[in-house]
Amino acid sequence: MIIAVASGKGGTGKTTVATSLAQSIAADGRLSAPSGAAERARAQEASQPDQKLVFLDCDVEEPNAALFLQPDLDDGQEVGILIPDVDYDRCTFCGRCAEVCPWHAIAVVGRKVLVFPELCHGCGSCTLNCPEDAIHEVLHVMGVLESGPAGPISFGHGILNVGEAMAVPIIRQLKARHMADNDVDLAILDASPGTSCPVVETMRGADFVLLVTEPTPFGLHDLRLAAQVARDELGLPVGVVVNRDGVGDTGVEEYCAAQDIPILMRIPIDRRIAEAISGGQSLVEALPEYRPHFIQLYEQILGIVSSQEERP
């Protein structure tokens, strides 16, 4: 099961919710627990050691989850896209590569072929279309993937290099690296703010999208957009966490009721929470009394996902 945590607006508490959800489930010692008590006991008996909880920070522009989960990270692996490199012994300067590139990332100027790595999307079309087989591809490094254990949580994140524009290839490779194994029981994906391609790339393939919002006009405006992406464009079930509950107005409440989007959890406006998080503590580390609420949140998500699966 894959849960993506998104928001539209930045700073609503995505990382707070995602990290505390992961830590609460890890501490509880069970993953895809069925909600009945008897079944739960049976599942607990049967499974434990090989159940795997993965946490991926997909906000590769500003990855912050590691600050809270404190994983023991490996040396990292450079990642990027494959960009063209021209073999001048074969090139006839016919210009076909430039013709097929929709991003003008390759240009033929006299007897030179110029490649602009910052414009290239790494699609490989120029290589495939070169009639002389004069293009091969080389890795253009755009960032790094790091991973390692954070207690029982298997953690991974991507870091986009400063000055690089494209986050999506890093997210795609981060997901591919960790999700390829079939032994992932639960993956929690922390998305970037916004609603464009990096967020879509994070949500793709998820079973559920948890939208973290705050009850303000900005929060509501961006919640609508994020819900549109997750529910209407990608067809995924969604639920809302209202953070800083008590601040602002009732717009989010009214919107969720009208749209039939369940509010699964509320975190009240509380300076203690803000201060703990500002110092690098996660919510459930600072206030362990929230753990059962996160377990409840997880069980509600499981319930929604399994009821979706039963539909024809």
Binding site: E61, F68, P102, E164, G194, T195, S278
Partner: protein, 301 residues
């Protein structure tokens, strides 16, 4: 004409609240043009109550389309696509031609060239809208990128270019750009051509971490930066860290706004905080910050 961009790295530090306040303050001293460069989640309009004057279609790029009647299920398109945008067709139990997942398609057209049946073509698609509006502080250019679309950087460039042209045309002194969070493509577009970047940060571990990355980004593109700390009393240790960091790197800190519910109240009321509670502490700090920003813009710093 000067161009000031407001950025933050981390989301939710208060960029738009600061942008609205500066729009209010700047417009009392000079004619300004405003641009909301957070086209994914444009919020400046919620505070400025714009009246829309113009609406334009934004064409965002191409998407591949497979003609189901021509597809022979050879799978070439699936093989060449690097964006997982081709959904495989099947022979059994029913004939299902290959299809394109338009949200995943980057429009490279690699499949268009490789299809032996010439069953695929690329179509331009509308990815959003952009608007010119009037506000009480000056004209506003803003946009709405459709859910899940690409090319937000291109739309940001469009919105800013329109703002710049109007500013030059009407001899307005300032183009004020409210930027998006992050450090990637829309941020690079928002930052391009700016004379000055104002980075709004907060004293949290995330805020500090992200501040260094956004300062690295604006520096990479050679735009000078100033820093404003929001919610400064939330964590004095990190506020001190940010101050020390700025001092070490020769970056001017233009203000520290204490955490104040009035900032959210002003947002709920659709007002810049400097207009909602002009005598409050937040408004006073913002006025002082604006005076410093102005000195830098005028080259008097």
């Amino acid at each position: 004409m000067k161009q000031l961009v407001i950025l933050s790295g981390k989301g939710g530090t208060g960029k738009t609240s600061v942008a609205a306040a500066l729009a209010h303050l700047a417009s009392q001293e000079m004619p300004v043009v405003l641009a909301d460069a957070d086209v994914d989640a444009a919020n400046l309009e919620l505070v400025l109550e714009p009246t829309k004057r113009e609406e334009h279609v934004f064409m965002g790029g191409q998407v591949a389309v497979i003609d189901p009647d021509l597809c022979q299920l050879c799978g070439q398109c699936y093989e060449v696509c690097r964006f997982e945008a081709v959904i495989r067709g099947t022979m059994n139990p029913t004939w299902e031609p290959y299809r394109i997942d338009a949200l995943a398609c980057e429009g490279c057209a690699s499949c268009v060239y490789q299809c032996p049946e010439k069953a695929i073509h690329a179509e331009e698609q509308q990815a959003g809208l952009w608007f010119r509006s009037d506000t009480r502080f000056g004209p506003l250019f803003h946009a709405h990128l459709f859910a899940g679309q690409e090319n937000s950087g291109k739309l940001v460039t469009m919105v800013k270019q329109q703002g710049r042209l109007l500013a030059l045309d009407e001899e307005r002194d300032l183009l004020l750009v409210d930027g998006p969070p992050g450090i990637g493509c829309p941020v690079i577009s928002a930052n391009a051509g700016a004379d000055l970047a104002l980075i709004v940060t907060e004293p949290t571990v995330s805020g500090v971490h992200d501040l260094e990355r956004i300062l690295g980004t604006v520096n990479h593109f050679r735009v000078p930066a100033l820093v404003l700390i929001n919610k400064a009393d939330l964590n004095p240790v990190h506020t001190t860290r940010i101050e020390a960091y700025c001092q070490d790197h020769g970056i001017d800190l233009v203000g520290k706004i204490a955490y104040d519910d009035v900032v959210t109240e002003a947002m709920v009321q659709g007002q810049p905080v400097t207009a909602y509670q002009p005598d409050g502490a937040a408004a006073t700090t913002l006025r002082q910050a604006w005076a410093q920003v102005r000195r830098h813009l005028d080259g008097r710093a």
